[in-house]
Symmetry: C2
Subunit: 269 residues, 2 copies
């Protein structure tokens, strides 16, 4: 079983990725696709007069501030547009893809971070932000994924979750992919983006780190820039849940999945 | 088995409908929910600078002109927003709802009406419109619905379908509900909207027609105004597919589902 996370819309060669997914599914490989959608959510939020806002945690992680309006736009874009178009494209290639968000069938349950500590960008001081609909995934309904896979469907998952109180929440797609991979005991978790993998000296692509031993993953956090920080965290979570290999790979190439499986990229195990 | 179609956002008491659905599911009733979303698609299309356009067929049916941009907005709003919020609300009420559009798992296959004959509103003459992504449903994957129902999920279906060529298509939600009801051999198809049923003299609610025999359904078309025409067509299709009863009922009341099942509304059988 392989879980593949497709980065947002920028940089990743979606036509090549979907073709490569289709080729692997047709060879009998079981696959689950998880996708993001931050970039497109930003664009559509702005068009709808509700531009995105970002907050930074004291430890330096940046995330979207998700008020209820933003949550609904995020659901619309990720579960409605990106997910549907990805499923459409896979269906066209002969894959019986089936789109779900984590809200559907309680696929992903998350704890709502209803009070998050942030650094105020104006004053540089810490303050508490409330009314945020962001969550940290605590449980994946692997039974639902297995039910669909057994019946021949390829699940395509949008990064939303549901809280025990029944609130839809925005979740990080890399970490969602990690939790899904852990829940189904995937052999590989492949995180595709618009870089060849983890770079020792970002953005110098010749500084690609080819292999990381599981034990030294924490030290690698120091090389990780921006979004890559969450991928490294996701990798660590997936390995802790029993996933054999996590691969950060290039989503811009002709056969991104085959490339990743052949060891091109950063392999963590 | 009951298939319930919830009209667009206007007029229907969504809180009451979802509470009533939850009550029936908790009593062990198997339910499939189908919803629309035209009203909200119009609002968001306009906000996104792509206002809706409508066309009228020579036989007097009005439908949305769905170019590719409109299709993507329609998917976003129906499958992303309306569907997700409906599933969220049902989850909150303890129903393990699971949202799908007809694209997912090939749930609804439709023939694309790629050339439709319309009346030009400026000249009053007939002309052919191309590039329309609207479809007529030909097949419902009832196996997928049964798989989910058996496993305890309540499917919530957005009105999109997929063509054999792999194109996502906008489909009429009333007729989608009819096809779904036929495919699962539902006992009842309940179409909720913001009127008490079929009215002999629209909009006079005291002119409600309580019962229509299946044989005289065609004559009833003459009473049907606007959207109600498609509901009557849907009813006819559902009965032809073996559905026992079709009920047009009021979605504005406190217990709309119980009301419909008690025979309030227009019962066709």
């Amino acid at each position: 079983m392989i879980v593949i996370k497709i980065g947002g819309t920028t940089g990743v060669n979606l036509a090549a990725v979907t073709r490569d997914i289709a080729a692997h599914v047709q060879e009998g490989q079981r696959l689950i696709v998880v996708h993001g959608g931050s970039g497109e959510t930003n664009a559509i939020s702005t068009q709808l007069g509700h531009p995105p806002q970002f907050v930074t945690s004291p430890s330096g992680f940046t995330s979207r501030y998700t008020d209820r309006t933003t949550l609904e736009i995020f659901a619309m874009v990720t579960a409605g547009k990106i997910n549907t178009l990805l499923v459409e494209q896979l269906q066209r290639l002969g894959v019986n893809a089936l789109g779900l968000s984590g809200v559907d069938g309680g696929l992903m349950t998350a704890k709502r971070k209803d009070a998050i500590r942030i650094i105020d960008s104006a004053t540089g001081k810490q303050r508490i932000l409330r009314d945020d609909y962001t969550g940290k995934i605590e449980k994946v309904n692997s039974g639902l994924l297995q039910l669909l896979l057994e019946a021949g469907y390829t699940p395509v998952v949008a990064p939303l979750a549901i809280s025990p109180e029944g609130e839809a929440l925005n979740v990080d797609a890399d970490r969602a992919a990690a939790m899904v991979a852990g829940a189904v005991a995937a052999d590989q978790l492949i995180l595709l983006s618009n870089v060849p993998g983890l770079l020792r000296a970002f953005p110098d692509e010749s500084s690609l780190i080819h292999r990381i031993a599981r034990d030294s993953l924490e030290q690698s956090l120091s090389f990780a820039e921006g979004r890559m920080k969450k991928k490294v965290l996701g990798a660590s979570e997936a390995l802790a849940l029993g996933v054999r290999q996590v691969i950060f790979a290039d989503g811009r190439v002709e056969a991104p999945l085959a490339g990743a499986l052949a060891g091109h990229g950063t392999v963590i195990e």
